[in-house]
């Protein structure tokens, strides 16, 4: 298992380096520059390019960036927070985004699982209908619209949650973004759980468990749930992608000072170093999550774990 994890970690690091390369390449192709203020003359622009080393050839810049990165230096911001170290800029927003994202994911997954299981057990009942409605809404209503609806009805009309992020009431401020972000995972997880659970409950091994006379509660907790969870874990990757992209718009609506807001601003203003760092952080979060999912998969599914141990 440890050998397997080590291998996965190494692959992840390689992947990340590849991503930085691609990001660098893409930024090179992006139109405009960090200094495309109409007020700048061509001569001034050239001087600014020299100052920030942007006049150097692509590979020189790339290698310079990569070596600096290994020392934890992500360069300085050109626009967003002029001349400030990007690594310092990321800390705060990253923490906020991770907290909101993790809470959203957790809430969505837990409710999704509960709803899916309930729907599968009470097939064709009101819970089942609710589950279908939630999954249709969650999949079809974009996170942005949902966030706005939440801000309007729950935030403004009911006044239950702050409309805008308030650093003095962090937990309360997280409620709106968290629920908005939870919708997509909730919808996907409930839909998958329901389908998987129905599948598992109709399987031969559940019949055998029934034939053993096992209590319904144990049947669900010890057998059905575990087998349902395995395929659910595989969809966590795509769900995470949804969550990450959703976080950008949700953060915008609720004014959450997260990395999503920062990345959108950075891209719009061609702040290269910040854009790369944000995209890198997103990719890293994704890869780390996939790594965790892989390892969890091993723990929960003996077919994977045991095969790994054997090899």
């Amino acid at each position: 298992m440890s050998k397997y994890i080590l291998k996965r970690v190494l692959i992840s690091i390689l992947t990340l380096s590849a991503i930085i390369f691609v990001l660098f390449l893409m930024l090179d192709f992006m139109p405009g520059s960090p200094f495309n203020d109409e007020k700048l003359t061509a001569a001034q622009k050239a001087l600014l390019y020299t100052k920030y080393g942007l006049d150097k050839p692509f590979f020189v810049r790339f290698l310079k960036y990569l070596t600096a990165m290994l020392k934890g230096d992500l360069g300085n911001s050109y626009v967003l927070n002029k001349n400030k170290a990007v690594a310092d800029m990321l800390k705060g927003p990253l923490g906020v985004s991770i907290r909101v994202g993790a809470l959203g994911m957790l809430l969505g997954t837990v409710i999704g699982l509960g709803l899916g299981i309930a729907a599968a057990l009470k097939h064709n009942s009101w819970v089942d209908t609710l589950c279908s409605v939630v999954s249709i809404l969650g999949v079809s209503v974009p996170a942005y619209v949902f966030a706005l609806l939440l801000a309007y009805f729950v935030g403004f009309k009911l006044g239950w949650i702050p409309i805008l992020y308030n650093s003095k009431k962090v937990m309360a401020s997280f409620v709106g973004p968290m629920i908005a972000l939870a919708m997509s995972p909730m919808a996907n997880v409930s839909r998958f759980t329901r389908a998987e659970m129905i599948d598992v409950l109709g399987s031969d091994y559940i019949l055998l468990v029934q034939a053993k006379g096992v209590r319904q509660k144990d049947l669900i907790m010890k057998h059905a749930l575990r087998n349902t969870l395995i395929p659910i874990i595989t969809i966590m990757g795509p769900i995470l992608v949804n969550l990450l992209t959703g976080s950008m718009v949700v953060e915008k609506v609720f004014g959450v000072p997260g990395i999503g807001t920062m990345m959108v601003t950075a891209i719009q203003s061609n702040d290269y170093n910040v854009t790369i760092a944000c995209a890198f952080v997103y990719s890293a979060m994704y890869i780390v999550m996939m790594l965790i999912i892989d390892i969890m998969y091993g723990i929960i599914d003996p077919r994977i774990r045991v095969a790994k141990e054997g090899s």
Binding site: P31, T41, N81, N83, L244
Partner: protein, 557 residues
């Protein structure tokens, strides 16, 4: 496990594509415009004066301002916007220059026919480029497209790009007609007129007019430079020349719709320069002013900043030799008085003796000398270094380009309280610019103690203005509280105790927060105007931004 890798890379790609490429997907590349079927040289139609005039005459600017935008924007009456620059007689520039813009469809049709004859074509197609970063340009261009099609039968293709892409295309001359804007840095028509001065810089690269250049030469550096009346008349004439020749087509002057809590008064909006929140009265229990800003604070370093939001916050913390009063006229601030030599080339500022930095150090003339030299320092490469040359500070350009040492810059400290500025050429608007943050002082000793981290955290800031920066939550909230050591603290007592700027990029959320009473000042986007126009706090303000169409006479493939 390979698919995970692919997925991750795809994710990164998708994220970037989703943010940057979304808008351009639906648009046509500008270069595909040159259809050989209609004319051999697309530039030719834009070189035709009658065609350019026809285009301008067929735009109903009032309709655009009042029915399309509805946010307080007004129809352009010329290249120079309204209510932003005032002549030696104290009258608004536009009042003196008059309305140069006509809407006359019949005449437009007539001129178009002539253009057809001159160019030997049956009809015209044009491509209209605009940016999608905000809503207004798209709406305006759709309206213009309709007007040109209906009034002139011209086939108009819209090209939408992000702002930076639009700027890149326009810089590269790979566009036909582009909707663009200019925000003035100072209250003088020169900030606009210079754009089309062929020798000045790279702003205009498609239109050259000797008569126009000659008038500007005369007004800015030549025989009329020292004579405010003549200078003003030259500029009025220059504007008329470029409008008569349709070097550009003015469209509208930007308005902005806002929600301002009726309990709040005293926010000063300056159509040129920086809005002031220094003397705001808040009739609420806590005397806290909550402002939603739609662009984030970029930097507290006033020599590095380029954006309005940063400038506003810097103005709270520091201040200049002068500040602008409600009529946008310069009045004493850190300088208690000044004299201008008869030739208009030497400005002597007498600094306040009671002004102290927040660390107890008194303000000295050297704080200005050091600050101005830093602004001009080729090492720093400030994007606003040009503004020293704009007011013709002696040797500003040469020092900035590294040809002369910074000591040669035309500033000196005669004694601790006397700061002298020497100009190459007289400048009528130099005093007004003293309120602009680029000209604010900087304490050398403090700066040297902080150097690389200067202005990057609360510990790296020094104050001499009415407020201090008390809570800096990056990407989110910026709180300013009263500066107890402010020299005019007694007078300042009646104004807001605390000013909180919160970065909210979603205007709808900010407006809801306003309705809840948690936010006092919100800038609305165009789509929210109808929803909020009956709110008692709804106001529109005119901005100095003037939008125009550039007609590219030198199209490159």
């Amino acid at each position: 496990m390979n698919y995970r890798k692919t997925l991750a890379a795809a994710l990164a790609l998708a994220m970037l594509a989703g943010c940057s490429g979304g808008t351009s997907a639906a648009s046509t590349p500008a270069s595909s415009a040159a259809e050989p079927a209609s004319t051999v040289d697309v530039s030719a139609q834009y070189k035709n004066l009658n065609f350019r005039k026809a285009l301008s005459l067929s735009i109903d600017r009032n309709q655009i301002a009042e029915l399309v935008l509805k946010d307080g924007s007004i129809a352009a009456e010329g290249f120079i916007p309204k209510d932003f620059a005032y002549g030696p007689d104290g009258k608004d520039y536009r009042e003196t220059a008059g309305n140069l813009i006509e809407y006359d469809v019949a005449k437009a049709k007539e001129l178009l026919e002539e253009a057809k004859k001159e160019l030997g074509v049956d009809n015209f197609s044009v491509e209209l480029l605009y940016e999608t970063d905000s809503e207004a340009p798209g709406k305006v261009c759709a309206a213009i497209q309709q007007m040109w099609q209906d009034n002139l039968g011209i086939n108009v293709t819209l090209v939408s790009k992000t702002k930076k892409e639009r700027l890149a295309l326009m810089n590269a001359l790979t566009y036909e007609i582009g909707l663009t804007r200019w925000g003035p840095d100072y209250a003088d028509p020169q900030t606009y007129l210079d754009l089309f001065y062929s020798h000045s810089s790279g702003y205009n690269n498609y239109y050259f007019n000797d008569e126009y250049d000659a008038l500007l030469d005369k007004a800015e550096t030549g025989e009329d430079a020292a004579d405010p009346e003549k200078r003003w008349a030259d500029m009025v004439a220059a504007e008329k020349v470029i409008i008569d020749d349709m070097g550009l087509i003015p469209v509208f002057q930007n308005g902005s719709a806002m929600l301002i809590n009726p309990a709040v008064s005293g926010i000063e909006f300056h159509n040129a320069g920086v809005d002031s929140y220094r003397e705001v009265t808040v009739n609420k229990d806590d005397k806290t002013l909550n402002v939603a800003i739609n662009a984030d604070l970029n930097t507290m370093d006033h020599h590095v900043a380029t954006d309005g939001g940063s400038f506003i916050m810097q103005s709270l913390c520091i201040g200049g030799l002068a500040k602008l009063d409600e009529n946008a006229q310069p009045v004493e601030d850190l300088a208690e008085s000044w004299e201008i030599s008869d030739d208009g080339l030497e400005y002597t500022f007498h600094l306040r003796k009671d002004a102290k930095w927040s660390n107890g150090t008194p303000l000295t003339a050297n704080d200005f000398v050091f600050a101005w030299r830093r602004l001009d320092d080729p090492e720093l490469q400030s994007e606003y270094a040009f503004i020293l040359d704009t007011i013709h500070v002696k040797n500003a350009k040469a020092c900035q380009e590294g040809e002369l040492p910074l000591e040669e810059l035309g500033v000196k400290a005669v004694d601790d309280n006397t700061f002298v500025v020497t100009l190459d050429i007289p400048c009528g608007f130099a005093l007004g610019l003293m309120a602009f943050p680029s000209f604010f002082p900087l304490n050398e000793e403090f700066f040297n103690a902080h150097k690389d981290t200067y202005a990057q955290s609360l510990d790296d800031l020094l104050y001499i203005g009415p407020y201090v920066f008390s809570n800096w939550e990056e990407n989110h909230e910026y709180t300013f509280t009263k500066n107890p050591n402010y020299w005019d603290a007694a007078n300042q007592a009646k104004y807001a105790d605390e000013i909180v700027f919160t970065f909210v990029s979603e205007a709808q959320s900010a407006a809801l927060s306003y309705q809840q009473g948690n936010t006092d000042v919100v800038t609305l986007t165009g789509d929210l105007v109808d929803q909020y126009k009956s709110d008692p706090g709804f106001v529109t303000r005119l901005q100095g931004y003037a939008w125009r169409l550039n007609l590219n006479q030198m199209i490159k493939e």
